[in-house]
Subunit: 440 residues, 2 copies
């Protein structure tokens, strides 16, 4: 896949039109300035910003963009004859970002984007458009920030059949869960702190409800398993329900709690989900703390691979965007999904109900005789076998007590059924907290 | 950089001539057979072995190579008109491997090799030859087996200025150190076990003396820092001198011992060395155990990145070789050293004597008054300041006792001087064990 427009200019500067000058856009400008010499050497030509689209022309971004052409409407970049590559850093699956990317590709201008929502939701159509136009679309920065996750899966592991892909894909959630574990504080408290530190947005729902991780997982799963990207088929749970007690109980059981995105090639299709998980505290991914991300891939020949690094922030994300630009400048990037669109196979999505695995279940129960008999009878009737159980003493006489159950591997559908029935018992107060256990 | 010979055949199979059918060669044949469909889709064309060079034609390698042309002399592959790419899996910096690679490049046949010694020792000349011939030379499998370490540094992190590169680059040493820590056994004992399990060669010196890791580090450092590869300037120490006592003492101090290859851009040049190191047991690299390798890179913008995976073995190494072949089949691989040869800068190698850092020093001393005074006086005179000291009780009256010292960060030259002087004290028996402490 080549685009005459940019290849014909080999030796000449690669001229960028950058849409969006927030944290990442400013970071990119800074990176291209500070590392200009080595980028020129590695790309075989200079990479320069010639046009930008941003709302505020006056804000100090720490780097001089005075000589660039400014557009109030980003769409102008797609038709600017002095722009070789459009860099889309606006964000969002719809609206201006989508319009710009589509217009640029339609106009045979290669696109580099950091927009996970856009690629996860419209990736199939964009891949087709890129192929039809013979115009590259690259998106390394959309997944796991500075970690070259896309390149690793699309090229580094290209020869192997992957069995599993995923990892810790959201730094905000990992920061919150790490801080909760280390300090014993509650979710709301730690979230507020993360917001103050700039690790969480004012509206944190995209992060803490698992949507951001699901965007990234959908992209990774499509690359890994060669099927059209299917964001809608990812099962998504966030971390709002996790309590300080879960973190400490998990620790006592030899686990840590991580929000994981995991996709695997299962017997009857591809299973993809984002959910909090208990992982053995000795597993490599359990050691990945704070804002760090980690991508795990497992292949039939290559075995297990884990890449750990900074999943967000100006520097890491700018590094990923610029690596794509160097690939472009060199001339022959890979197809959007690693293979031509005709080779993608619409493999069935396996629903979460078919999953088999162990569970952690935390209940709040009345401190009286017969409670355990009621609960264990339901578990038996649903075919769920217990591995262990911990009951904490009541804080005061008559108060409800936390009861923590760990199951043997069991069918998800049976466990969900059991949990619903247990929740309906009069002796059970509060909503049960059900967390999957993963031995990765 | 393109090679007409293989690009002109786009759509047609990419035909390989494979030299060497040991573990990796057989693994490659198996991989290309088992994953033929997906490799064809990702490469845009089939990748097939058409010719092989190996001593034994009759050995069962688990895959049918009966339809291939056989060469007794690998050099024949370089001139076979039906071979598009030469895959060199012979090994060794000189002899047949070197002759084959040079002949193939001279004949405009792209080369994929897993040969770390060849690339580390002759990489500069081979890079020049590749560039002169416009013929790619790829060597992903030469470093860290299944980990796409070369691609990560050369392309994934291409936009950033790296400050440090290295990691756990030899699985044999990591296996031995892990087993020594976990079982309390001695080096010789664990080495014998590793040999029985196939994790160590009959002649283990290339691995346990650090040479293999130094080959890999020299390659990574060249890519990371953009200078001609300089294997000879790597300071190399192995692990033979490490005792069971060092593993347990390190553990008690909150460290683990790993054989690390580390190169960094220091003030007056590039420092590159392979040596056993104490690393904090909480650091990510301390968690990498057994035969696993890990590559750490640190960039000005991207921050710290660590990739962990299988560093050897048929499957992982074949995966790396085949990923290079897919890159070749797609058409435009990167230059051998990421930039054109003219861009490489012969930066000074900073000698180890200029290093500054903390040390662990284990001595065997007579159990009597005045010993500590002698030792601490030498350290003071050499400008070495102590952080902590542990003296173990004597096993029996009058026996020598182990004395373990941990220093504050200090100049390497001063510490080496102090160690030499301490070793000469009459109260010190055995050779002192000096291990660097790295907080990576």
């Amino acid at each position: 896949m080549t685009s005459g427009a940019f290849l014909s200019a080999a030796g000449q500067p690669l001229r960028l039109g950058v849409a969006g000058l927030g944290t990442v856009g400013a970071g990119l400008a800074l990176l291209l300035r500070d590392n200009a010499d080595l980028i020129t050497a590695r790309a075989g030509r200079p990479i320069v910003i010639t046009a930008v689209a941003a709302r505020d022309r006056t804000r100090d971004r720490g780097v001089d963009l005075g000589s660039c052409r400014w557009y109030d409407d980003a769409a102008g970049l797609a038709t600017d004859p002095d722009v070789d590559v459009v860099v889309e850093l606006i964000g969002g699956a719809e609206g201006k970002a989508r319009e710009l990317v589509e217009a640029a590709l339609a106009n045979s201008k290669p696109v580099v984007t950091a927009n996970k929502a856009l690629v996860a939701v419209h990736g199939e159509a964009l891949g087709l458009l890129s192929e039809k136009q013979s115009t590259p679309l690259l998106y390394e920065a959309a997944v796991a920030g500075g970690i070259p996750a896309i390149k690793t899966v699309r090229e580094g592991l290209a020869a192997d059949r992957l069995l599993r892909i995923g990892g810790i894909l959201n730094g905000t959630c990992n920061y919150i869960l790490t801080a909760m574990r280390e300090t014993g504080r509650d979710f709301a408290d730690v979230l507020a702190e993360a917001q103050a530190l700039g690790y969480a947005e004012a509206d944190p729902s995209t992060d803490v409800d698992g949507v951001d991780a699901a965007h990234k997982l959908a992209i990774l799963a499509s690359l890994a398993f060669g099927r059209p990207v299917q964001f809608d088929s990812v099962h998504v749970e966030g971390i709002r329900q996790i309590g300080a007690l879960d973190l400490s109980a998990a620790k006592a059981l030899g686990y840590r709690i991580k929000l994981l995105g995991l996709a695997r090639q299962a017997e009857r299709g591809i299973e993809a989900r984002v959910s909090p998980c208990l992982v053995p505290h000795t597993s490599p991914i359990a050691q990945v703390d704070g804002v760090f991300n980690a991508v795990i891939a497992e292949g039939a020949f290559v075995g297990r691979l884990m890449v750990e690094g900074r999943g967000a922030g100006a520097g890491p994300t700018a590094s990923a965007v610029a690596a794509d630009l160097i690939d472009l400048a060199r001339g022959k990037p890979a197809p959007v999904w690693g293979v031509s669109a005709a080779e993608l196979e619409p493999v069935r999505s396996r629903p979460i109900s078919e999953r088999e695995g162990a569970f952690y279940l935390r209940l709040s129960v009345a401190d009286r005789a017969g409670v355990l008999a009621d609960i264990t009878a339901i578990l038996r009737d649903c075919g769920v076998s217990l591995n262990s159980m911990v009951q904490h003493p009541a804080a005061e006489a008559g108060a409800d007590v936390p009861l923590i159950l760990v199951t043997h591997p069991t069918r998800e559908a049976g466990m969900q059924d059991a949990t619903t029935r247990i929740a309906a018992l009069p002796v059970v107060s509060d909503t049960p907290i059900l967390i999957r256990i993963e031995t990765i």
